[in-house]
Symmetry: C2
Subunit: 344 residues, 2 copies
């Protein structure tokens, strides 16, 4: 199977697993679960069944491929794959509150429709269900020790995710964020989940410590490359393809790597800090910022950093494929390439 | 040891376990953890070390006693006891956001000091750490199977807690809440955690299914009695002892059992609904509401329901103590009596 065939084979199973997990457990709190289903794209704002665009389901696929890459049965890892995707979605529900975002994937966010109190609690419910998913691994014959190892990794990841989100929020209003701080932030915010997903799968598949470490390294490097590509698209992406306004990350003064590099640049840093410090930042300022980013070589430096992270992810895979199961490693390599080619 | 001696022996250990768990793991996100410590009463609003009044630590004590009651070593259950108390505190951080509460235990709440975005994320961090605590059971020699059983129970409980919170929020603005709905709500909001605490301890101590069921029944009934006592204090409590204004639950139109009973009462229900429906509800209305509650016999009915739940908790303990370890069962009985005697 190539990557497209693998997605086609497993996506319906991942989707089915998630739908079962988000079924209401208590008729008196059915709406609590239906709002979770709305967030997943399975219901409309009136909570009637619907089909809205969903995420790419990269994290659950990384989990299944990580399991297969160490010789495990990917179907045994399906509950954990669903748990990882639900955890990702819990974090989006809370991020939307914390970032005051009224829309996601062209639809109103949960808090925008039902208010912060209900949406915060809906997120907490999804968080619990994401953990619960791991206990269904036992029904698929995964040994107790492997379930404990995978769940422990998952819990550590969740804490790292909140650290990343803390750092991201603490960068707002700061103009002296360093590249080191930026990398620490994305290691939590993007890298934690993408780094843990293949390793969690590997632990379920009975990985050795070396195999688990190789897959963690692969996932963490993939997460970094993925975020850097996101940073590039957020400034130079094609509006029609990304669905966001051009240079949206500049308008929101996001501390993405290109901006951080330019803010710290000996030549243009001072001018950019002056522009970003002003209270009135309008679309008219965008061309000036883009010029400063050009002068700082910010795009090229970010592309180089993404290429470096990609090479690191590849090297981790090579260490793995030399141990056997080269096909799954090849699929993980294809997934890496797919994520970096994306234009949205 | 009597109950006071048992508290004196274990509280410092529970406290120590929690303090270790909330130590910053990442220097760049130290403030994320320090805000958790503020919520626990260990830091002041400037995040300097401090000692503020904390909770009663009932849940961790129930966990340790539940472990001892089935012949387990309570010290082995300390990480889970700490996890239960941290889970309770995570839920308070989010409840304060969801209920728009500016103060708790006479101090500003986390969101009031640092805003909803940071506080929501701080709660998520505590949520993760509460789960992480369970993996430290392995360091204390608790078998893997028992850790999985206890953690699974914990995760189920967390989901039930969000169901209870959903129902509580959905009751706002409604004047037709039934007693059945009220009981379903408190079974989640108060009963889930108090019900799970002794059972989690028992599972760590190697309980049989019957023992675990008896302790779950004890905890759930104790939770109901505890909440009903809370409802009574919220209306008829002594202001000096509770630290809240007299009849505070009437001013906030809380759907506690006495109010729900009176709202559904054939004789006074209509008049109370008219009072509660009016947009202008001021302290001058309180005496009229109290008179209607009196006429509905709401206090006596609530006291009877609390006595019934207490008897149910006692019966569950008797089933347990007939199987051995009568001393721990006696302490659980003493704890039940202590909670029901309380005036604040």
């Amino acid at each position: 199977m190539n990557l497209a065939e693998t997605f086609a084979a497993y996506l319906p199973q991942i989707e089915g697993e998630m739908r079962r997990l988000l079924e209401p457990r208590n008729a008196r709190a059915a709406r609590h679960y239906e709002i979770m289903q709305y967030h997943m794209g399975w219901r409309d704002p009136q909570l009637q069944p619907a089909t809205a665009p969903s995420g790419k389901r990269i994290r659950p696929m990384l989990c299944l491929l990580g399991c297969a890459a160490v010789g495990g049965d990917p179907e045994a890892a399906l509950p954990a794959a669903a748990g990882l995707e639900l955890l990702h979605n819990f974090s989006l529900v809370h991020d939307d509150i914390e970032d005051n975002s009224p829309t996601r994937r062209h639809r109103p966010t949960a808090w925008a429709l039902w208010g912060i109190p209900l949406a915060c609690n809906v997120g907490d419910g999804m968080f619990s269900i994401a953990h619960e998913a791991f206990f269904h691994l036992l029904d698929r014959g995964v040994p107790e020790r492997a379930v404990l190892l995978a769940l422990r990794r998952f819990v550590e990841m969740n804490l790292a995710l909140t650290e990343g989100q803390y750092m991201d929020m603490s960068f707002e209003g700061r103009l002296d964020v360093t590249a080191d701080e930026y990398y620490a932030m994305i290691a939590g915010k993007t890298g934690a989940l993408l780094g843990a997903a293949p390793e969690v799968g590997a632990l379920i598949g009975g990985a050795s410590e070396e195999e688990a470490a190789a897959l963690r390294e692969y996932g963490a490097a993939l997460g970094r490359a993925f975020q850097l590509q996101d940073d590039i698209l957020g400034i130079w992406g094609n509006e029609e393809q990304t669905g966001k306004s051009t240079a949206s990350d500049i308008l929101t003064k996001k501390k993405s790597l290109p901006v951080v590099l330019a803010l710290n640049h000996a030549g243009v840093g001072k001018r950019l800090r002056t522009l970003y410090a002003g209270p009135e930042f309008t679309p008219e300022n965008v061309p000036a910022v883009l010029t400063l980013l050009d002068q700082a070589g910010a795009r090229q430096a970010t592309e180089e950093a993404a290429a470096e992270a990609t090479a690191r992810a590849r090297a981790a895979l090579q260490a793995l494929s030399s141990k056997g199961n080269g096909n799954s490693a090849a699929l993980l390599d294809e997934l890496l390439a797919m994520l970096l080619r994306r234009q949205s």
